[in-house]
Amino acid sequence: MAVPKRRKTRSKARMRRAHWRVEAPTYAACPQCRQAKMPHRVCSNCGYYSGRQVVETE
């Protein structure tokens, strides 16, 4: 099996890893209560989805 002959330098490894990053999750305002919520999810604040209450909240 083919195997690397030389160890990559610290610099090369870090350059490669410079593009690894966590993406921020997308949020959208809830049309009912304006609270930020994840798109296509039931709003955890008011329990609304597609214009009607689907989950009970206090």
Binding site: H40, R41, V42
Partner: protein
């Protein structure tokens, strides 16, 4: 040669998966709305909808096919006499999946699965049987005679102490049972028309 199913299995293997789907379907038909992970919800949907389709067709053969999956006579009765007729005017799409976002603890994406047509009322049969069913699956299958007697009794009880609308429902359901599910078209329009008034809060209490 049989092709293995693509994609990951829920749990540990094919047997575990089928048992898990059965359990989920049972809970769904009993409670009408269940909370589970998105992956399970997505697998449950086609499975449960096929059972509902069988319930809509009616007849003894379909009943036995469903019983082999659900393994609970009371629940099969509910499925054929209550849930099936509800969807008489709907071609597929009997369940709805609502995504809830990540769960605390393991951040698993959660979802609600619910029947699209809400029940017109809480069925007396299931609430009675819930208390009785602590014995497990096998026991249920072995005592069909007693079970049927109980169901009939509870339906009569509901008949006595309720208003006209519900009495109509019950009587039409009885005719449906006599004709082995074929004459079950009457209750369906009622069930479609009823839910908006007063019935939705009742459904929410059940959860």
């Amino acid at each position: 040669m049989p092709q293995p199913k693509k994609g990951p299995r829920l749990g540990s293997g094919p047997a575990h998966q089928s048992l898990m789907l059965r359990g989920l379907a049972r809970s769904l038909f009993e409670h009408e709305r269940i909370k589970t992970t998105e992956a399970k919800a997505k697998m449950l949907r086609p499975y449960a909808e096929k059972l509902i389709t069988k319930a809509k067709k009616g007849g003894v053969h379909q009943r036995r096919l469903v019983l082999s999956e659900v393994e609970d006579r009371a629940l099969v009765h509910k499925l054929f006499d209550d849930i099936g007729p509800r969807f008489a005017t709907r071609n597929g799409g009997y369940t709805r999946i609502l995504k809830l976002g990540p769960r605390n603890g393991d951040a698993a994406p959660m979802a609600l699965v619910e029947l699209v047509e809400k029940g017109a009322r809480k069925t007396a049969t299931t609430s009675v049987d819930e208390d009785e069913d602590s014995g497990g699956r096998r026991r249920r299958l072995r005592r069909p005679g007693r079970r049927r007697g109980r169901d009939a009794g509870s339906v009569e009880a509901a008949d006595d102490g309720t208003d006209d609308e519900i009495q109509q429902d019950v009587s039409s359901e009885n005719t449906g049972i006599d004709a082995s599910g074929e004459a079950a078209e009457d209750p369906a329009p009622d069930a479609v028309a009823d839910p908006p008034d007063g019935d939705a809060p009742e459904g929410d209490e059940e959860k």
